[in-house]
Structure formats: structure tokens, C-alpha cells
């Protein structure tokens, strides 16, 4: 029983990393998306470069870099869990920004033109006409990323964050096997619930069917 409690405690960290990452990466992703589409060429190039680096290197390496590099250079380290969350936010924001960009690009130019003809301002067109259509289009790919994120949280054990996989391995070192394999159940239940929530979102957004 106390073994299950230990595992649950570990999984609490996974869920904390998950929600913090979503909370941080969604707005940051939107900001990065606008920067990569910026009419200022320098800003656009810099941010496209950042997206390239972040999407082009293993998340495991990014975790190690975010935690150890500040400490190696400035002798200042974030707490381990915070470092993990920061790395996850940066990584996922870059992926999200590309999904947002795809969603926005998919809206026909005709709608902006129609809005203008009807006398709406650019902001009005974006918030009243475009935004919800974009949201509807990106729910499926975002769902995909969100489910990947749930499982990716276990990567935090590379910087010794005592999340589920890390604590279950402690039992492995004691020669007890079942806690390690039972971790699958935790992830399955969490992805199951998330899938249900995402399905409901999709249904509700069917209102904006094109």
C-alpha cells in the first residue's frame, strides 16, 4: 500500500509538470508564432532559428542543458522540478507555435477581405471571425501533442526529478519488479481521461464546422 502511495506521489509530479507546461506553453507558443510571422525580418529570423534548434535537438539534452548550464556558467541552479518545467515549456511552445501557424494559415484570405468589406477592423476580424475557426482546426493536432506531453513528463528523471519512473526504479534497485511495470497504468488512465476531454472539446467546436 505504501508502495502505491510512493508511486502516486511520484505521479503527482508528472501531473504538476504536465499542467504547468500546458499553462506556460500555450501563451508562449502563441507569442512565438506571432514573432515568426513578424514583418520585422530580424525578429522573424531569430525566432525561426530558435524553433529550429528546439525542435531539432532531443528534449533529453534540453533538460540537461536547462538544469546544468546555468550552474556551470553562473554557479546558479534552479530547483530540479522548476528546471524540468522550464525546459518542457520552451520545447512544447515551439511545437505549439507551428501548430498555431498551420491553423492560422489555413483560413482563406477571402474571409479577411469579406470582413474588411463589411467595415470590421483587423482586430475585430481576428477575434470575431478567425479565432474560433483556428481553434477548431487545431484541436486534433494539439490533442496529439498534449498526449505526447503526458508521457514525455517522465523524461524529467534524467535530471533526477523524483517523478513516477524515477521512484519506481528505486523499487527495481530493491529487487521488486511490479511497481516499475505498473507505471503504465498511471499513464494509461491519465491519457484516457485526457482523450475523453479532448473528444468533448472537439464535439462542442463542431458548431464552427466549415
Amino acid at each position: 500500500m505504501d508502495k502505491i502511495m510512493t508511486l502516486l506521489e511520484g505521479f503527482g509530479l508528472n501531473t504538476a509538470i504536465f499542467f504547468c507546461t500546458l499553462l506556460g506553453a500555450l501563451p508562449l507558443g502563441l507569442a512565438i508564432m506571432f514573432c515568426t510571422r513578424s514583418s520585422n525580418k530580424i525578429i522573424a529570423t531569430i525566432f525561426r532559428g530558435i524553433v529550429w534548434v528546439v525542435r531539432g535537438t532531443p528534449l533529453m539534452l534540453q533538460l540537461i542543458a536547462v538544469f546544468y548550464l546555468p550552474s556551470l556558467i553562473f554557479e546558479w541552479a534552479m530547483p530540479r522540478t522548476v528546471a524540468a518545467i522550464v525546459a518542457f515549456i520552451i520545447n512544447y511552445a515551439c511545437y505549439f507555435s507551428e501548430i498555431f501557424r498551420g491553423g492560422l494559415d489555413a483560413i482563406p484570405v477571402g474571409q479577411y477581405e469579406a470582413g474588411q468589406v463589411l467595415g470590421l477592423t483587423r482586430t475585430q476580424v481576428f477575434f470575431k471571425v478567425i479565432l474560433m475557426q483556428v481553434v477548431k482546426r487545431i484541436v486534433a493536432p494539439m490533442g496529439n501533442e498534449i498526449i505526447t506531453l503526458i508521457k514525455d513528463t517522465s523524461l524529467a528523471n534524467i535530471i533526477a526529478v523524483p517523478e513516477l519512473i524515477m521512484v519506481s526504479k528505486r523499487f527495481l534497485a530493491k529487487g521488486i519488479l511490479w511497481p516499475f511495470f505498473s507505471t503504465a497504468i498511471f499513464f494509461l488512465v491519465f491519457t484516457g481521461i485526457t482523450t475523453l476531454v479532448l473528444n468533448r472539446c472537439e464535439k462542442k467546436l463542431n458548431y464552427y464546422k466549415l
Binding site: L72, A77, I159, K169, R170, A173, K174, L177
Partner: protein, 263 residues
């Protein structure tokens, strides 16, 4: 473009000057903050959790040394593969976890006097104890060990295993699990590690150490940052614990009495 370049260089200079800023010796650094962060991984009988409390031979040993030195021990779980980075980046102050002294490690870190002997042993299914005796009988036997471990170098250099089929795995835990699940016939692991992992009370009750073999005697030491002057202080404290018998009592408590370095 020039402005950006100038900015990048300026930032780089600031970074470098800040890195160079760290002054004072390692002992002053550790004593100054009043606590020593001890890097560990959980394994019986060295450092492990019992009813949520950290205990073990190394845990008690380190606590006793810290008491003599007047610093508070602070145990931090680490990932073994990145222990050198942890030490260098000062996220930990020492590695105190049944670490084998090797020439490479002595070059990279400052290591204490050896305090415990260890060896590599052959772990097999209990019914297979005594099944393999010489190089010919080990022909095509599937054998595993942790990559880059003393077990691996034993397998690669000992003529006994010349004809065996060797696979490197990521950890001793995996090596033992491979033997348990039957994907390997035998593994060469650290003796002290095997104490807490196999036999009675574990899922590996059907595994045993083959008493016919013992390889690569080695010694344990505590690792500090390269060039640290704290190592000497810890050595002195260890000598004190040996002289007053504390270390022997501790070792016997964890069934490691025979493993202590005696001279």
C-alpha cells in the same frame, strides 16, 4: 548585424567573467554554507529508503563524518550517468554511494582514501550455480553487464568469457532483470549491489551468486570536486571513525563487516 555581434560578445564576456568570479577553496565554500550536499542513488545496503526514511551504510557513514566536520548532511538523489556534471556544477558537493575508485575517476575528481573492498560476481539462476566451470563451458552462454562497468571489463578481458555471447545493458538493475527473465544466462555485477537486490524477500529469490567465481577486486571511495581541499578533512574524519570503532560497528550492522578496508 554589427550591433548584434557586439551584443553577443558582450554577453559572452559577462558569462566568462562571472564564471571566473568564484573564489575561495572548496572547503571554505562547503563550510561557508554549513551543509554538504551528498549525491546518492538509492540502492541497498548503501543508501535506501525504509518506510520513507533514508537509511543505509553510506547514509549513516556520511552523517557521522559530517557530524565530526560540523556540517549538515543534505542527501540529493542523482542520476549516476551525470554525476560528474552534478559535481562540477555544484548541484552536489560529493558522491558518496559505493563508488569504485578507477584511474579515470582519480584524474577527473578528488577521491578520498579507500574505505571498502568490493568485487565482481557472477549472478545466475539458483539451479544453474556450478553449471559453468571453464572457458569451454561458457561457449555461447548469453552474458550481460552494465555498459562501461567493472563487470563489462571483466567479461571483455577474462579468458573465461572469451567464447561467451556478451551484451551491454544500461544498468546493473537491467542486467539482473535479464537473467531473471531468461533473456540472458548470467550477469557479472558488483557484489555489494547484489546483496540488496537478489535472494530472500525480493522478486529475484531464484537468483544466486555463483560462489566459484570472483573477479576484479576494487575499492570504494568518496568523490569530491577536482583539487578540493575538503577531501583531506574527510579523510581525517574517516580515520577518526576507524580508530574509535564506529565504522566497524556500522559495517557489521549492514553485513559489510568483511568488506571494510582494514589497514
Amino acid at each position: 548585424m554589427k550591433k548584434i555581434l557586439a551584443l553577443v560578445f558582450a554577453l559572452a564576456m559577462i558569462c566568462m567573467s562571472m564564471a571566473a568570479c568564484s573564489t575561495g577553496s572548496d572547503a571554505e565554500y562547503i563550510e561557508g554554507k554549513g551543509s554538504m550536499i551528498i549525491g546518492i542513488t538509492y540502492f541497498e545496503p548503501m543508501n535506501y529508503l525504509e518506510n520513507g526514511e533514508l537509511t543505509g551504510f553510506e547514509t549513516e557513514f556520511a552523517t557521522a563524518v559530517c557530524e565530526i566536520l560540523g556540517v549538515t548532511p543534505q542527501f540529493q538523489e542523482i542520476v549516476w550517468d551525470t554525476k560528474e556534471i552534478e559535481l562540477k556544477s555544484k548541484t552536489i558537493d560529493c558522491i558518496w554511494n559505493g563508488m569504485t575508485i578507477t584511474a579515470d575517476r582519480q584524474k577527473a575528481m578528488s577521491i578520498s582514501d579507500p574505505y571498502m573492498n568490493n568485487k565482481q560476481v557472477l549472478v545466475v539462476k539458483a539451479e544453474n550455480v556450478g553449471k559453468w566451470t571453464d572457458a569451454a563451458s561458457f561457449k555461447d552462454v548469453k552474458i550481460v553487464a552494465e555498459a562501461e562497468s567493472a563487470g563489462e571489463s571483466t567479461i571483455k578481458t577474462d579468458a573465461l568469457f572469451a567464447q561467451a555471447k556478451y551484451t551491454a545493458v544500461d544498468s546493473m538493475k537491467t542486467a539482473i532483470f535479464e537473467v531473471f527473465s531468461g533473456t540472458a544466462d548470467a550477469c557479472v555485477v558488483d557484489f555489494v549491489t547484489s546483496i540488496g537486490m537478489i535472494g530472500e524477500g525480493t522478486d529475484y529469490a531464484n537468483l544466486a551468486v555463483d560462489p566459484a567465481f570472483s573477479f576484479a577486486p576494487e575499492q570504494y571511495g568518496i568523490a569530491f570536486r577536482k583539487g578540493s581541499d575538503f577531501t583531506a578533512k574527510v579523510n581525517a574524519a574517516i580515520d577518526q571513525l576507524i580508530a574509535n570503532g564506529t565504522l566497524k560497528t556500522l559495517a557489521e550492522k549492514y553485513k559489510l563487516g568483511d568488506q571494510l578496508v582494514t589497514d
